[in-house]
C-alpha cells in the first residue's frame, strides 16, 4: 500500500486535491459528451446556439429529454457514490456497498411495492404523489440497513465475513419479496418491473430531477459534514470515542442520510449497483488517501461522471431500444469487484481491518 503510516506528507494533500479537481473536470467532460449523444441526432457544435436561441431542430428533445436525463444521472450517480464511501467508513469495511449489503434491494422492495400496491395504500397526499415512491424506497433502505447492522454486529465488532453474509441474507429476502411482487403484478406490468429492477434513467423529467435532487440535498451536506467523525470511526469505535466523536449519534445520522440518498436514487432509477464500490476504491487508489474530507466529495463527483458515461452507452448502443444501465454498470463493476477481491484476498482473509489506504 502506498501509505501505511498515518501521517501524510504535505504533498499528499495536494495530490488528493488534484484528484478532486480531476473528478470535477471528468464530470464536466462527461456532461458535455453525454449531452451531445443520443438517438435523436443533434450536432454537438449546434447545442450552445440552440440553447441560446431556445430553438432549432431537436431543441425540445435536448431540453426535455436529454438534459433532464443527464442531470438525473449526476444526482443518482453522486448519491450512490457518496453512500458507498460513507458505508465503507460506517461498517469499517472496504466491501460495504449499497448493492452488496442489500440496501439497494431494500429500497427496490419499497419502490416496487409502491408501484404495484400504491392504489391500495391510504389516500394520503404524501403517499400518492411524486414523493410516495422515494419515501417507500427510503423506508425499505432503512429497514435493510438496520437489519444488516443488527445481523452483522458481534460484540461491537463487524467481522467482514459476517457482514457479507448478512448482505447475502438481506439480498435474498429482498429478492423473494420482489419476486412475489412480480408474481402479483399483471404480465406487462411485471415485465416493466423486471426492466425497472435492472436500472434505468429513461423516466427522467425535470420534475423527477427535482424530487431526486431534494433527496440528495437533504442527505449530501449531512454526510459531508461527517467527514471528520467518519475518519475517526474507521480507526474503530473505541478510538473514535476517545478522539471525542459521539459515535452512536454519528452512526445513526450517517445511516439515515445514506438511506435517504439511496432511497431517492433507487426510486428514480431502479437498482444500479457497483457505483458505491467502484468509485471510492478507484479514488483511494489514485489519490493514495481515504481521508473523508477528500473521499466524500470526490466520490460524489466521480460517481456522477461514471453514471453519466454508463447511461450514454445504455441509451445509444441498441437504438431504438435501450439497455438497462444497471447491466452496463454490472459489466464494469463485476470484474472490478473480482479484481478487488483478488488483490486484497490476503488482507480480507486475514482480518476485518479496513483494507486499502489508511485513514487519518
Amino acid at each position: 500500500m502506498r501509505d501505511q503510516n498515518q501521517a501524510y506528507p504535505h504533498w499528499l494533500f495536494n495530490r488528493a486535491n488534484g484528484v478532486l479537481l480531476v473528478s470535477f473536470v471528468l464530470l464536466i467532460l462527461a456532461v458535455l459528451h453525454s449531452s451531445s449523444r443520443g438517438a435523436y441526432a443533434i450536432p454537438a457544435l449546434k447545442i450552445p446556439g440552440m440553447l441560446w436561441n431556445q430553438a432549432g431542430d431537436g431543441y425540445e428533445v435536448l431540453l426535455n429529454v436529454r438534459l433532464p436525463r443527464v442531470l438525473l444521472a449526476i444526482i443518482v450517480g453522486a448519491a450512490l457514490g457518496l453512500a458507498g464511501a460513507t458505508m465503507q467508513a460506517l461498517f469499517r469495511n472496504p466491501l460495504a456497498d449499497p448493492g452488496l449489503l442489500g440496501i439497494i434491494s431494500g429500497a427496490s422492495v419499497g419502490a416496487a411495492g409502491w408501484m404495484i400496491l400504491s392504489h391500495r395504500l391510504p389516500d394520503w397526499t404524501i403517499l400518492q404523489g411524486a414523493w410516495g415512491m422515494p419515501l417507500m424506497a427510503f423506508v425499505g433502505a432503512m429497514i435493510a440497513m438496520a437489519s444488516v447492522w443488527r445481523l452483522a454486529s458481534a460484540a461491537g465488532q463487524m467481522p467482514i465475513a459476517i457482514l457479507l453474509l448478512a448482505g447475502i441474507a438481506i439480498n435474498a429476502i429482498g429478492a423473494s419479496i420482489l419476486g412475489f411482487l412480480i408474481y402479483l403484478a399483471e404480465a406487462t406490468q411485471a415485465q416493466g418491473l423486471i426492466f425497472w429492477m435492472m436500472g434505468g434513467l429513461g423516466a427522467a423529467t425535470w420534475k423527477l430531477c427535482l424530487v431526486t435532487g431534494v433527496c440528495f440535498i437533504l442527505a449530501a451536506p449531512v454526510i459531508l459534514s461527517l467527514a471528520r467523525p467518519l475518519d475517526a470511526l474507521v480507526l474503530g469505535e473505541g478510538e473514535a470515542y476517545h478522539l471525542g466523536v459521539r459515535v452512536e449519534r454519528t452512526k445513526m445520522i450517517a445511516v439515515i442520510a445514506c438511506s435517504i440518498a439511496v432511497g431517492g436514487a433507487v426510486a428514480a432509477a431502479g437498482g444500479i449497483g457497483f457505483i458505491g464500490i467502484v468509485v471510492p476504491h478507484l479514488l483511494r487508489i489514485v489519490a493514495g488517501t481515504g481521508r473523508h474530507g477528500f473521499l466524500l466529495p470526490a466520490s460524489a463527483l466521480a460517481g456522477g461522471a461514471l453514471l453519466i458515461t454508463a447511461d450514454s452507452v445504455a441509451r445509444t448502443i441498441v437504438v431504438p431500444a435501450e439497455l438497462p444501465v444497471g447491466i452496463v454498470m454490472g459489466f464494469v463493476g463485476g470484474p472490478f469487484l473480482a479484481y478487488l477481491l483478488w488483490k486484497r484476498r490476503r488482507q480480507l482473509a486475514g482480518n476485518a481491518a479496513f483494507a486499502g489506504a489508511s485513514h487519518a
Partner: protein, 315 residues
C-alpha cells in the same frame, strides 16, 4: 394415467364403475348431438378463449388463463394462472381432452405432460395477420366439431376484410402515404416499451394500412425516449390496460418524449382494448377496421374497445 386409474377402479369397484359409466354415457348423450361434442377444453390464452366462446363451445371450456377476459362470462371459468408459468398438475387435474393456446406457452414440459395424458394439443404460433386469424378459427372449429359456426364466423370476418382491403387500396391508389405509427406499451412515468412486430398490436398497424415505425424490432424492448422523438410518429397506438395504469391518456400526452412527436402535438392517440387490438381473434377484422378509422377517418384521440357500443371518437 387416467386410463390406468380407470382400469384399477373397474377391477375393484364394479358397482361404482357401472354407476360412473352410466353417468358418462348420460352426459355424453346430452351434448353429443354434434360429432365431437363434450370436450373438456383448456384455453391457454385470451384469444383462444374468445374463439371458443364465439364458436359456441364456451360451456366445454374447463380452464382458462389469466389473459382471458372476453366475453365477460369467461371470468366464471376457473383460471389456471398465466400461460407462461403453467402448472402441469393443475392442468392435468382438469382432465382436458383438448388444449388450445399459443406455441410459446411455458414451460414446454407442461405441454408435454398434457400430450402424454392423451389430451389433444392445438398450440400454434399466435396469428399476426387476418388470414392466419381466420385459419385458426377454422382449425379450432374443426377440433371442437363446430365447422359450420367457424365457417359463418369467417364469412362475417371476410366481409369486413373486404371492406378494409377496399379502403386501403383506394387510399393507396389516391397516392396518399400511409400514416406513420408506433405501438407502445406505457406504464406510469417509467420507461415505455416498444411493442415488437411479432406482437399483436404492432402487427395490427400494418394490417390496418399504417406504417409501423418500429417494424424492425421483433420482440418488445424498453424504448429509449429520444428515439420516439426521432421516429416522429403521427399516431401512437396504445392498449387500454397500460394507459389506465399510467394515469390515463392525458398523462401519456404529458410524457416529454410523447409530447414533442407530431402525434403528441396533435393529440393523435389511438387507445384500444388489449385483447381486441392484439388478439387476432374473431373480432380481429372489426378491430382492424377500427384502427383504420383511427388512422384515417378520425381526429384527435380515438378509442375503441370492441364492445358493441363503446366505440367513440373524441377530441
Amino acid at each position: 394415467m387416467s386410463g390406468l386409474l380407470f382400469n384399477v377402479l373397474r377391477s375393484t369397484l364394479f358397482a361404482g364403475v357401472v354407476a360412473s359409466v352410466g353417468l358418462v354415457a348420460a352426459t355424453t348423450e346430452t351434448t353429443s348431438s354434434k360429432s365431437a361434442g363434450n370436450q373438456r377444453i383448456i384455453a391457454l390464452n385470451g384469444s383462444a378463449t374468445e374463439v371458443l366462446f364465439a364458436l359456441g363451445v364456451g360451456s366445454q371450456v374447463v380452464g382458462r388463463d389469466d389473459s382471458s377476459y372476453f366475453p365477460p362470462e369467461v371470468m366464471k371459468i376457473p383460471s389456471i394462472g398465466y400461460q407462461y408459468v403453467l402448472n402441469s398438475e393443475a392442468l392435468l387435474a382438469l382432465k382436458p381432452s383438448l388444449v388450445v393456446g399459443r406455441s410459446d406457452a411455458r414451460p414446454e414440459s407442461a405441454l408435454e405432460r398434457l400430450k402424454e395424458s392423451g389430451a389433444r394439443l392445438l398450440v400454434r404460433p399466435e396469428p399476426v395477420n387476418l388470414e392466419q386469424a381466420t385459419d385458426r378459427i377454422r382449425e379450432i372449429g374443426a377440433a371442437v366439431g363446430a365447422e359450420d359456426k367457424a365457417a359463418s364466423l369467417v364469412e362475417d370476418m371476410n366481409k369486413d376484410i373486404l371492406v378494409l382491403q377496399k379502403k386501403i387500396q383506394d387510399r393507396k391508389a389516391s397516392g396518399k402515404p400511409p400514416v406513420k405509427a408506433a405501438a407502445l406499451y406505457v406504464r406510469g412515468t417509467s420507461t415505455a416499451m416498444i411493442l415488437g412486430n411479432k406482437t399483436g398490436p404492432a402487427a395490427m398497424i400494418e394490417v390496418a394500412g399504417g406504417l409501423n415505425l418500429f417494424g424492425d424490432l421483433e420482440s418488445s424492448k424498453p424504448l429509449t425516449p429520444e428515439s420516439l422523438a426521432a421516429a416522429a410518429p403521427e399516431v401512437i397506438v396504445v392498449m387500454r390496460g397500460g394507459v389506465q395504469s399510467a394515469g390515463g391518456i392525458e398523462a401519456l400526452l404529458e410524457r416529454p418524449d410523447v409530447k414533442m412527436t407530431p402525434a403528441g402535438k396533435n393529440r393523435r392517440v389511438i387507445v384500444m382494448d388489449d385483447l381486441y387490438l392484439g388478439g387476432f381473434g374473431p373480432r380481429a377484422a372489426k378491430a382492424a377496421l377500427d384502427l383504420y378509422k383511427g388512422f384515417y377517418e378520425s381526429e384527435g384521440i380515438y378509442e375503441a374497445d370492441g364492445l358493441s357500443t363503446s366505440t367513440a371518437s373524441r377530441r
